[in-house]
Amino acid sequence: MSKCCTLGKNPFIRLRNIKKSFGHVVALDGVDLDVYPGEVTALVGDNGAGKSTLIKIISGVLYPDEGEISLNGKTYRHLTPPVAIELGISTVYQDLALVDCRDVASNIFLGREPLKARFFVDKKRMNRESEELLRKLKVSIPSVTTPVEFLSGGQRQGIAVARSINQQGKMIIFDEPTAAMGVGESARVLKLIRSLGDEGFAVLIISHNLHHVFSISDRICVLRNGRLVKDFRTENTNPDQVVGFITGSNQRTEEFRKGSTKA
């Protein structure tokens, strides 16, 4: 694995030797991954390569069988969703995990509603801060009191991102953010993700679309059969090379054989 050229920077999160199996299926087979602040790191790989399992472990939804997660100078065996959120890890899931029938502000503040008089939800403050946040992210919606079920895919994505930032997220994980999205909408969402990286967030993104990956990422990590097989700087590689690593055609014969017997 090539050590990255982010010298002088400390990784926001450091994963070491993460292993996870479901029954007899090995999903992750000793993955090492560092994610740096101010960078967009793309995680690519074929279906079943273990991308989703890896981000679920980072966000605390799944516990690894083996391995360590280091963060803020502390080492954890596993995280739980509340702990991950507290440590600043927010995930924008593929299904966005929005409560469709609730309005935009309620979704952005889900789980951290401000209170007044220690009992009443401070709706005015929620609306005001949601508007501010969405304006900063350049997400345009009709009103923060609209139920999210009436919004478009891009708008919903924007709201999910706003919620992540509102959870005081320092690292934001995106699972297939542009899946099932139109061209214009994808472009807007990608711009939003890129701008998060530029603002200093540690961004980890899973995508199948290499074109999107190349247009916004600083680093590309390739997962194959549960292993991190390559860690590129985006400017030092090209789509053909990445595809080669995704499919395994660039691998040495020995590793290739190993991989195919496993599959």
């Binding site: 966000s59 939804v61 969703p81 509340p82 959120i85 507290e86 995930t91 899931y93 995990a97 929005l98 409560v99 469709d100 029938c101 609730r102 309620s106 979704n107 889900l110 789980g111 951290r112 509603e113 209170l115 009992f119 009443f120 939800v121 709706k123 009709p142 009103s143 609209t146 139920p147 009436f150 919620r163 959870q167």
Partner: protein, 329 residues
């Protein structure tokens, strides 16, 4: 330009689809009031209206708890039986020499415990609420029969029967209890963090969990609320009749569910209306009262009430379905 026009239309449609069930209820209610007061001189008298409020108060108390449960995406079939069990427990405690206040408290705790049992099994073991509460329903009814030996307990101190037949000015305690709980429920559901989480549970439980909220805790509290509401219903029934019947509150769960759904709370969860529930309870109370005044045989009353519930639910559903289709275009 075009986008903004669309947005405005969406908003208007949104508003009407949200308020529509309530508007429909109020409309039906007005028509009924007019029809009944034209056909019977007794209908629009204070005594009769008081009667309606008095009778509806029991349904309102139970349906408020049910509003929370259904908003959270669940259902509670045990409320009628839990009401009976709580009433029986209060009666047995008083028979054993405990004073009224403590007996009532004990009965409410029993209701809360049954709710906690419902909520814990549903949440921790992830079993369908329909099945769990059906089991707890049978269990509670069985316990009530065992405690009483199947024979009603009657004759309670005045401190206790006051809760059914007392007077506070022109009102009686059940009415005021129902009114107080209505305000409380409306505030909690719409303005508290617990209310937000109740609706989020019904809308998308997984989203709430991923936001770091303990969904077990809130789910269990929802069912405890319903259990305590049922126990308060048990208090009202027992005090009113001065009798604790193990078979009291028969089918009360169905009346509560009907009122909640009629009031515009979505069976899918995520949307709940306290005002709608209370309006629906009053409407059903008025309907029962009207059918009696018009001396319609009781077999027909069941039939008429069933038809009206079906019609109202179907109309509301078709209406909101149309709205959604319109917006999605």
């Amino acid at each position: 330009m075009q986008k903004y026009v669309q947005t405005d239309l969406t908003k208007i449609k949104l508003l009407t689809s949200h308020i529509f069930p309530q508007l429909l209820l109020i409309l039906v209610m007005l028509i009924m009031v007019i029809l009944l007061s034209v056909t019977s001189p007794f209908f629009l008298t204070w005594d009769n209206l008081r009667n309606i409020f008095d009778h509806s108060s029991l349904y309102i108390i139970l349906a408020l708890g049910m509003t929370f449960v259904i908003s959270s995406g669940g259902i509670d079939l045990s409320v009628g039986a839990v009401a009976a069990l709580s009433g029986v427990c209060m009666a047995a405690a008083m028979q054993g020499g405990l004073e009224a206040g403590l007996s009532i408290l004990g009965g409410l705790i029993v209701g809360g415990l049954m709710g906690a049992a419902n909520g814990s099994i549903i949440s921790f073991l992830k079993i369908n609420p329909f099945i769990v509460t059906l089991g707890v329903m049978s269990l509670s009814r069985g316990l009530a029969l065992i405690i009483t030996g199947g024979i009603p307990i009657y004759g309670f101190p005045r401190d206790f029967t006051w809760w059914g037949n007392g007077h506070i000015g022109p009102f009686n305690p059940p009415m005021l209890l129902a009114a107080f709980l209505t305000v409380l429920a409306a505030v909690v559901l719409n303005m508290s963090r617990f209310g937000y989480y109740t609706l989020a549970l019904g809308g998308n439980e997984e989203a709430l969990r991923r936001s770091g909220v303990s969904i077990h805790l809130y789910k269990i509290i929802v069912y405890i609320l319903s259990g305590v509401a049922a126990a308060l219903g048990g208090l009202v029934v027992t005090a009113r009749l001065n009798t604790a019947e193990p078979l009291a509150g028969w089918m009360l769960e169905m009346d509560s569910i009907a009122a909640v759904v009629l009031g515009g709370t979505s069976m899918k969860g995520g949307k709940g209306s306290v005002a709608g529930t209370v309006t629906a309870c009053l409407l059903l109370g008025m309907l029962r009262n009207g059918l009696v005044i018009l001396s319609i045989p009781s077999y027909y009353q069941q039939l008429v009430i069933g038809i009206i519930i079906l019609a109202a639910v179907i109309i509301a559903e078709v209406r909101s379905g149309k709205n959604l289709a319109f917006i999605n275009k």
